[in-house]
């Protein structure tokens, strides 16, 4: 039996098609992935991403546990601010990527991916932190797009969070934690609130957002929106034991800490001799997960995510390659036929 978010019936009543994802039945679209994609790029969209995880990581060892399991220093993160990072396995490969917010010196709100709550919780508990898993009682909504800010302002008089900060806002009578974060590359916020009261908040946002043409958005557009911005999706880009150096996440690394896998990661960083996650654009055919990447007939890697960009109409992909750099010509094998592609910098749009 699949899990359902608190908004399942609302989604069904508004034309959602559901797909199973990480144990949940989630809306993949409400009619058109492309239309939802454009709505977020040009106006605003509301996503129910309650399948994502929520952990309270607390106690005197909370900061130290995060410093061991992520290549970051929670002590230098200002109170009320968040940090995008990766949760590392002991060998330095990525267990998950996550945002954590510093609510107090000994109290952090951690948002792992869907279905990663147990693994990430266990990892932090193993380093001596207290971990409370509130994933199943918490809803998460993402309000994203150029009009997200004005919709939030219409929904509540409370002050909105600054970029990557976390604040409390009362919306439709419900106390919500709200962060200035997202997964679309657009301006916006993410809201964390009690699942039991979340329908009132969702409906209030849809109502006040109606004049700005706020649309509900499914996982389909969530995926194309993040891919256009070159953001990693844990199940795709981290599959098979990838390190943050390979995944192009060297920018999240704070090398001062004593985190798991540090020496291996530093070695990798210094040698440069490793697979690298790159962007690809392709004129013909659509690259998809698992398609081989070649150069001059020799295999050099494979696609991890690919689609036709709804914004540009071009085929775009992320993939791991060995020994190819931005500007290089490669081929992506689409159903047995090598199609010319170019390694590019991300974001794609």
């Amino acid at each position: 039996m699949s899990l359902r978010t608190a908004l399942y019936d609302w989604h069904a009543a508004h034309g959602a098609t559901f797909v199973p994802f990480a144990g949940y039945d989630m809306p993949v679209h409400y009619g058109s992935i492309k239309a939802e994609h454009h709505a977020v790029r040009t106006g605003a969209g509301l996503f129910d991403v309650s399948h994502m995880s929520n952990l309270w990581v607390t106690g005197p060892n909370a900061a130290a546990a995060l410093a061991r399991r992520t290549p970051s220093d929670p002590n230098v993160v200002p109170l009320g601010k968040g940090k995008y990072t990766v949760v590392l396995n002991p060998d330095g490969t990525i267990l998950d990527d996550a945002f954590y917010f510093k609510v107090a010196d000994d109290r952090f709100y951690v948002i792992p991916n869907a279905g990663r709550n147990v693994a990430v919780g266990d990892a932090l508990r193993g380093e001596g932190a207290k971990v409370e898993d509130v994933s199943s009682s918490t809803s998460i909504f993402a309000l994203q797009g150029p009009k997200a800010k004005e919709i939030l302002a219409a929904a509540t008089p409370d002050a909105a969070p600054k970029f990557h900060h976390l604040v409390t806002m009362r919306i439709a009578g419900v106390e919500c934690m709200v962060s200035g974060t997202g997964y679309t590359g657009e301006k916006g916020v993410e809201l964390y609130l009690p699942a039991a009261q979340s329908k009132a908040v969702w409906e209030h946002l849809m109502k006040v957002g109606a004049s700005a043409n706020l649309q509900p958005i499914g996982l389909g557009a969530r995926d194309t929106l993040r891919l256009e911005k070159g953001y990693c999706l844990a199940g795709n880009e981290f599959e098979g034991g990838r390190t943050p150096i390979e995944a192009g996440l060297a920018w999240v690394m704070d090398w001062n800490g004593d985190f798991h896998g540090k020496s291996r990661l530093r070695e990798q960083m210094e040698s440069g001799d490793h697979d690298k996650l790159v962007g690809l654009v392709q004129e013909s055919g659509i690259p998809r997960h698992g398609y081989p990447i070649q150069r001059s007939g020799a295999r050099i890697g494979q696609v991890t995510s690919g689609t036709q960009s709804p914004t540009t109409g071009k085929s775009i992909a992320l993939g791991y390659v060995r020994g190819a750099a931005v500007g290089d010509a490669v081929e992506v094998e689409v159903r047995g036929k090598p199609q010319p592609a170019t390694v590019v910098k991300t974001p794609f749009v």
């Binding site: 069904a12 009543a13 034309g15 959602a16 098609t17 559901f18 797909v19 199973p20 994802f21 990480a22 144990g23 039945d25 993949v28 679209h29 058109s32 992935i33 492309k34 239309a35 994609h37 991916n113 869907a114 279905g115 996982l219 389909g220 969530r222 995926d223 194309t224 999706l233 844990a234 199940g235 795709n236 599959e239 055919g285 659509i286 998809r288 997960h289 698992g290 689609t307 036709q308 709804p310 159903r335």
Partner: protein
Amino acid sequence: MARADRGEGAGLEMKALKWRGPVARAMSNTPADLLYSKSHEWVKVTGGEALIGITDHAQEALNDIVYVELPKKGETFEVDAEFGVVESVKSVSDLYMPIAGTVLDVNGSLDESPETLNEDPYGKGWLIRVKLKDPAQAKALLSAAQYTATLH
């Protein structure tokens, strides 16, 4: 059509043709004068020839179609052979021959406007016209009512 797709994360398969959408979605258009395959192709037989496309249910389940790959004129396919590919934003689906034949014509306009498959699957969104190997094979296809019954 068969599914071979990939969505948000390792766990997300679109399963577009086995979606569990709301009841309203089940009321897709299934013209009574066509024949159907379980793999969601339609066939319009006229004498020794047939026009082949995908059903309204299929286009709706696939969602926004962005790419169609069709065979060349003169290619011959047996029943159930893969004759092309339809890609939506998030999925790749093979097309299977509902009836054996040789391709007489392909709908080239789908190269430029694949969205026609969403907009008019039984009309401007036809895929190929074939010369039938054995028109009697049509007897093995489903009626509109039989096809609709497979959707529930």
